[in-house]
């Protein structure tokens, strides 16, 4: 009987966790649409959906090819509950090209002279709060000629 109770509780916990996860993911889509997409209005938006639910201390990375002759807006859009996100842009060799630290900017506008692969690395700041919150982080890219 006890074993059945344990299994039932575990199943309920799993269903609850899955429910929360689906809910958080759905909220992310809504958050991205309302808070992030408008910031790319002047650009042709890349249609990849690079969004995840993260917590303090997490990192996210995006690898992408940027084309010569195009201007880009790289937007790192995070839910305010996560605090100010830092991000860096690295070239194919891993050398730093840009660092948002101390810049108080959620986006980086630049032009690319020669086509190249770059990596965007995002950090969610650590938090000392007793109750850790999760929030959406989206890495978005728009381009124009």
């Amino acid at each position: 009987m006890k074993a059945i109770q344990h299994i039932t509780l575990a199943a309920l916990a799993t269903v609850f966790a899955l429910g929360l996860s689906t809910d958080a993911t759905a909220q992310c889509r809504s958050f991205t649409k309302k808070r992030c997409l408008p910031k790319l209005e002047e650009y042709v938006q890349n249609d990849n959906y690079n969004t995840a639910v993260l917590i303090p201390g997490d990192e996210a990375e995006l690898s992408l090819t940027f084309f010569g002759g195009r201007a880009y807006r790289l937007l790192v859009c995070g839910h305010p509950v996560l605090g100010d996100l830092n991000f860096q842009v690295l070239d194919a060799r891993g050398n730093g090209v840009y660092d948002s630290t101390d810049k108080d900017m959620s986006h980086f506008d630049f032009r690319v002279a020669n086509t190249q692969q770059m990596t965007v690395r995002v950090q969610v700041p650590e938090s000392s709060a007793a109750l850790q919150h999760e929030g959406c982080v989206s890495i978005m890219v728009g381009s124009k000629s």
């Binding site: 249609d47 969004t51 997490d58 690898s63 070239d91 050398n95 506008d109 002279a113 020669n114 086509t115």
Partner: protein, 256 residues
């Protein structure tokens, strides 16, 4: 929302250019539009499996983008309707509903509006598929779009501009992104088949020479940061022809 997770994670994303971005590059490189190169819309109803529907939705998205960028408005609307049919089969047809098609028809003369409609629709589609745990399907759509972009760019290479040749060569980098994307999802039969189908394309692209250099940044007169340096990419006509053949084979394998 409070969380119970305490261990930090690193989420890795891989992205490929959207079909619209590829079409913009092709247009700027002097490619001529040819309706005959596009996939036959009538074949859209013949795809019965999720995998074939996803790949062909990507292929048709490539054609939709191509038609949009080249101001072929009638074709663009037709391919949007085809995309709707396949999206419906994949359970996300509500994202390309009658209102969206009507909005596209109302804006058919305004290229920027059509571009916005196409990119935001496929962004929403990718988001929904990932939300529904169908990331593999999203990956197959991206693969179909990539294949069609390179296919359309390599149809008429006689008299191709140097700019077009370089743009095709650069797709070696985006193929690398695509293979990483496909490999990042839990393997399925369809993903494995796509990765295997792209191997001859990778072999053809191996002929593209890439000499790596560090990126450099400068600030332009208007204050914009300019990223230069990076790889030096060259391609021979033989490699270009090999890519054209390899991409044609994989494209026609899926879009048959």
């Amino acid at each position: 929302m409070p969380t119970t997770r305490t261990n930090a994670l690193k989420k890795i994303f891989h992205a490929v250019p959207s079909p619209i971005e590829t079409a913009l590059l092709l247009e700027a490189s002097g490619v001529n539009f040819s309706t005959g190169d596009l996939h036959d819309p009538a074949k859209a109803s013949g795809y019965a499996t999720t995998g074939s529907q996803a790949v062909n939705l990507g292929v048709y998205a490539g054609d939709l983008s191509y038609a949009t960028i080249f101001n072929r408005n009638q074709e663009a609307i037709e391919y949007l309707n085809v995309a709707r049919r396949l999206a419906d089969e994949l359970g996300v047809g509500d994202l390309i509903d009658s209102a969206l098609i009507a909005r596209a028809e109302d804006n058919r003369q305004v290229r920027d509006s059509l571009i916005h409609i196409v990119t935001s629709t496929f962004y929403a589609l990718n988001a929904r598929l990932k939300e529904n745990g169908m990331e593999d399907v999203s990956g197959l759509i991206a693969a179909g779009g990539w294949i069609e972009g390179v296919y359309l760019g390599t149809r008429n290479l006689d008299g191709a501009t140097q700019d077009l040749k370089v743009r095709i060569a650069e797709q070696k980098l985006t193929l690398d992104n695509l293979m990483s994307l496909l490999g990042s999802y839990p393997s399925t039969e369809d993903l494995a088949a796509m990765i295997a189908s792209l191997e001859p394309v990778e072999t053809a692209f191996a002929g593209v020479s890439i000499v790596d250099h560090a990126a450099t940044t400068t600030t332009a007169d208007d204050g914009m940061i300019v990223i230069s340096g990076g790889p030096e990419i060259t391609i021979s006509d033989e490699t270009l022809a090999a890519i054209a053949t390899a991409i044609s084979e994989v494209r026609n394998h899926y879009a048959n």
